[in-house]
Amino acid sequence: MMFAVVVALAVGTYAFRLGGVLLRDRLDLPAGVRTVLPAAAAALLAALAATAALTQAGQFAGVARPAGVLVGVVLAWRRAPFVVVVVAAAAAAALLRLAGVP
């Protein structure tokens, strides 16, 4: 049963991945649609980042994680190197948890 779940998920996920790439070739998308695609991807990524930063299983993710992400966002805003953004966000969240913040 679990094997069937894994196969279904693998086939479906790959179909989504390849589907988008092939559709772009097959469909002659109008220029208007083409130009909004990067904005669509930015919206999806922003939504992923926001929900991952603030929620966990549909509920508020606590304080430490959003605070750590905020540290990373401020650093990114100030054009800090990407590595610094990622490491500082993790370190801030880890330190807050060490201090007992949920």
């Binding site: 790959y14 988008g20 909004v36 904005a39 919206a43 922003a46 930063a53 990373g72 190197p81 590595v83």
Partner: protein, 225 residues
Amino acid sequence: MQEADRSLRRDVGAIALASGAVGVSFGAIAVASGVSPLLTVLMSLVIFAGGAQFLAVGLMAAGNPFAAVVAGLLLNARHLPFGLALGATLDGGPARKLLGSHLMVDESVAFALARPDGPARRRAYWMTGGSLFVCWNVGAGLGVLLGGVAGDTDRFGLDAAFPAGLFGLILPSLRDRETRAVALTGAAVALASTPFLPAGLPVLLALTGLVCIPLTRRTRVDARS
């Protein structure tokens, strides 16, 4: 060019290592939830999407295999618009399209789209996708071997590293007024609907942010006239 390459390698290395660590926790959690070691490793290789894998393991452990498939696919449906947006990044023969599609994850898309269309974008996509594939799967395998010792990666703040990294990658594109309006509206819609909808759907709803495009264009025309 070499300078840009070195910084790309360093940035990709950071996110790949973090993903490897999360992979370790995935392997440990899957085995602890009753998924066989072999199936855990296979799952990471063929699905290669962290969020859907965690979700599916949780729902399978809860005895709901049907929900595991539906929820996992809902969560991964975002790859379709990702593929449309990637443009010419996977051009260059059917082999590249077939293999490259499997390496399509949030991070490889974000790294690629942060660069102008062309060789730089292509390099970023393949380097990120390839490194993450290796690290994620090696991590999952290690997690299976280590089992409970791997513990939870939240202690090290890795749950904050991923959203921060994604924000860092999309921030430059948000300097464009239209993209910013679309992305912020989409993120707000996703956040507002998260408590009420199954996982995956809120992120797809972010596409409603595209309604901002005619609005911003109209105000621009108004301002001109």
